[in-house]
Symmetry: C2
Subunit: 345 residues, 2 copies
DNA sequence: TGGACATATGAAAGCGGTTTCATTGAAGAA
DNA sequence: TTCTTCAATGAAACCGCTTTCATATGTCCA
């Protein structure tokens, strides 16, 4: 029972040093109640003395399952996803699961590569935010095939593109509908929208909510104030500049994620205009700093930390009970209007 | 060569279906030049038809190395770390390495747990931001032991606590020194600092830089305007409130990370004061939105995306050449004073 | 006293790959 | 023609762990 002088200590070393078989050591590790107390204590002592820690690789291979959960996310530096990720981590950590991370940059090729990696890594389950609207592109089958090839179940988060798996997302359409209605009630008749591309499901959802709201309020759809870019700061910035030059100005603007909102605000402030004097504005997702500084910021609030936590819980449940019916969980996005002043008419 | 009807296709299935041995299939996967073209094509066809993807688990076990890099980070929702993480991901992705993520919440217990997990997972290398200043706590040996027990090398990022491994961090002390000097040159004699706790190395570095700057400028150190909290928003907020009540007010304030800066700003704005009228202010790390909105924000700029990229490069290099001398890379933090107005004296 | 049963342990197979070593056949050299 | 060399492949061991199955020992009861 002397210290083992070796770089990589294995279960065999421990067994030998303790004078027992590998099987017994393995039992101490996995179901200690099966082994005699004296034997167990002896083995535990050897394990401790040598700082032995069993290899997850070997264990996973042997058990035919891994202890890691995969996550595929667009971009982690957007705080919406950053907080989502923290929510995920809280729960996986509690359950002693590791997290394998991959970003897809809203990009089909990277997304496929990420899925392949998750396959190769045989993750126990996958938390998946699809990069693009594969349904629209006619690639749904290809993606589904990849999901089916995974070792574990998948939960599709933040957007629904028609994949055969559990889903959890916010009710963006309804929230947009309500945003438009709130603006209409305040007297706005020309409500612009700056949105992501048609390839993005969420953009479509939001677009539809916008249309719903207009119709309900008896406002005619005007294509000239419907802007579609790519959910990125820079495209929103240039579209806003474009909008500012329009002859027939909107009186209110809705921006469809926080990067777009930032690009929009940048363009506005650069031009010397201000919110809400130039335009009434409602953004999607909060922008923490604005709130902190007391700058009015009407927005649709979505708690992504909660989204992350719930997603993992559903996934873990699915792993435990693979055969139960697939579920779609819809979280409510809340319209937070802090300073929705009336417009002069 | 018919389609294999089976859930988990293994290398043996492929071998059988192609009428060759496992060894040959393995060669096609790893060193195709060793196998005859015809055989190779046949095998590749079978692989493709069956969507076979080799198990990383099995491969890792067999090769005795894994293909994943571990990352231990305080909190991913702080954009400093978010961008750091994206930098990391860019390089690992290029090198076909997976990323195993773990947060430590600036918390010793979680940090140790994370290290143990990295050990168990046998990561190929580790990117490590230590939770606390273990040197100060007398726990350096324990941590070093954990690092030594890992399967691969470690790079310690963003702070140096005296661990035996490669390191990369910003020259915070110098940047702080320069910040203080710039304020002194502008006529400030009472410069407050809101900082993290003494347990945090970075906080100490920054503190020292602050003291250096005061001394160099012939300003006496005044403990009553040196605030120490925990690098969190809320503690900064309450310390600022406390500061505002002080009889002998400072004329300038330095805040030592972006969470502290936010807490500080919140308290300031809430009190109806404004920057830079109430206090001249220099923060550490940028706050993106302020810049966007044209709100003046003097700060020390640290490019964490770059930090992440460099860290992985060093780590990969270390994996390739384990015996070369350990390196310490110091990146320069840049003082960005956008509107450093003179104070009335 | 002997048989049934429970408890504690070990031997060995298996997880899905890689790698070493041996074997085979063909090409080139003598 | 025979010997050498090399390219292509397969058999089998191995990586570190889990798990099944068999065995040994002890306990209980008839």
């Amino acid at each position: 029972m002397a210290k083992i002088s070796k770089a990589n200590i294995t279960i065999s070393d421990i067994a030998e040093s303790a004078g027992v078989s590998k099987a017994t050591v393995s039992r101490v590790l996995n179901s200690p109640e099966l082994v005699d107390e004296k034997t167990r204590e002896k083995i535990e002592k050897v394990i401790k003395e040598n700082h032995y820690s069993p290899s997850a690789t070997a264990r996973n291979l042997s058990k035919q399952i891994s202890s890691t959960i995969g996550v595929i996310v667009p971009e982690i530096s957007n705080t919406f996803f950053g907080e989502l990720f923290e929510g995920i981590e809280e729960i996986t950590n509690k359950n002693n699961l590791s997290l394998l991370y991959c970003s897809n940059d809203d990009n089909k090729e990277k997304d496929f590569k990420a899925l392949d990696m998750m396959r190769t890594q045989r993750v126990r389950g996958l938390i998946y935010i699809p990069a693009v609207n594969y349904k629209e592109l006619g690639l749904l089958k290809q993606v589904q095939q990849r999901l089916d090839g995974l070792a574990g179940p998948v939960i599709c988060v933040d957007r629904s593109i028609g994949l055969r798996c559990d889903e959890i997302y916010f009710n963006d359409r309804k929230a947009m509908y309500e945003a438009v209605k709130a603006l209409a009630v305040d007297g706005h008749k020309r409500i612009a929208i700056i949105n992501g591309s048609k390839q993005n499901v969420l953009a479509e959802e939001r677009h539809n909510g916008y249309i719903d709201g207009l119709k309900e309020s008896g406002i005619e759809v005007d294509e000239s104030i419907i802007f579609r870019g790519d959910y990125k700061y820079s495209s929103a910035y240039s579209m806003t500049k474009q909008m500012i030059k329009l002859e027939n100005q909107p009186t209110a603007v809705i921006t469809c994620n926080n990067s777009i909102s930032k690009g929009f605000l940048k363009a506005i402030y650069e031009t010397g205009k201000s919110i809400p004097d130039a335009y009434m504005h409602i953004g999607l997702d909060k922008i923490e700093m604005l709130n902190l500084l007391g700058i009015p910021y009407n927005h649709i609030e979505r708690d992504s930390y909660e989204l992350g936590k719930r997603a993992v819980e559903i996934l873990i449940n699915r792993i435990a009970f693979p055969e139960t019916k697939l579920q779609q969980v819809v979280l409510q996005a809340e319209l937070e209007l802090q300073t929705c002043r009336l417009v002069k008419m």
